[in-house]
Amino acid sequence: MKTILAVDDSATMREMVAFVLESAGYRVIEAEDGAQGLDRATSTSVDLVITDQNMPNMDGLTLVRSLRELRDYKNTPILLLTTESSDSMKAQGRAAGATGWLVKPFDPATLLEVVGKVLR
């Protein structure tokens, strides 16, 4: 079973992401911000990270950069799931090493399709 780390400071968003992914057979672990996400990723083996951008303590792009510095996460897919939708932010995400960018609110079927694609 693939393990997915969902990082978001909104408990509701984490719950929605977890519900959709778990209903499709994935195991989901959660973190409230980038710092906690980094901590979870280093203590557990994770197959995919889905992170929000604007969070206290550590934002999503910083989390992406921090994960890419770790040997275990050089090639792990990382998706940004955020309300930010500007081209400049997406470019920053790409430069940081993110695999993809999804704009909230997400469509569950689309999320499952993207997750399936990046985990293949």
């Binding site: 909104s10 929605m16 778990e22 939708s85 999804l102 609110p105 689309t110 694609k117």
Partner: protein, 180 residues
């Protein structure tokens, strides 16, 4: 026009300068009162939204837990399982609306912060023109006081502008996906 008339027009007397400061104080005070009402309305809207969201979440969790449990015991190719899949589709639709509730809640939070920051600056401006403070003796001192009040108000507006320029979500791009 006599020299005296020119001097009067170019240099306001103490009374005129004091009136200008008083006008500024009235504007700041009125704006602050209006923003207090806005802040109160935002807080009430948020309370109502939170209450509705909590009820929605409780209903959602109840349905989600039951469908997941039922799916586990149903045979994979059974008609029951097909039915569960249809129910799951309805829950997926609810997922999108619940997210919208959450995002609106966050937007209200941001608006409350903006209003709060503007009110702080207005209160700062009003404290400069506090009646207990000794009144200036010269027009220049009154003008200086007005300028200090204006600086506070302009700083408050600049804060709002800065936050409004931050990249946000474009409705047309909601739900969009970019794979790099």
């Amino acid at each position: 026009m006599t020299q005296q008339q020119i001097a009067t027009r170019e240099t306001p007397n103490v009374k005129e300068a004091a009136q200008a400061t008083d006008l500024l104080r009235t504007v700041a005070s009125t704006l602050n009162e209006r923003l207090a009402v806005t802040a109160d309305e935002l807080a009430r809207s948020q309370d109502l939204l939170r209450e509705a969201s909590e009820e929605l979440m409780t209903a959602f969790r109840g349905a989600a837990d039951r469908i997941v449990a039922a799916q586990k015991i149903a045979a994979p190719a059974s008609s029951e399982n097909t039915e569960f899949g249809l129910v799951l589709d309805h829950l997926y639709r609810a997922v999108q609306h619940i997210q919208s509730h959450d995002l609106v809640n966050q937007l209200i939070d941001a608006q409350k912060q903006r209003v709060g920051k503007m009110r702080e600056k207005l209160e700062q401006a009003l404290s400069i023109a506090h009646p207990e403070m000794s009144n200036p003796a010269t027009p220049e001192q009154w003008i200086e006081r007005s300028r200090a009040m204006l600086d506070c108000i302009v700083a408050g507006i600049a804060q709002i502008d800065e936050e409004a320029r931050l990249p946000g979500s474009d409705k047309q791009r909601q739900g969009s996906v970019d794979l790099f």
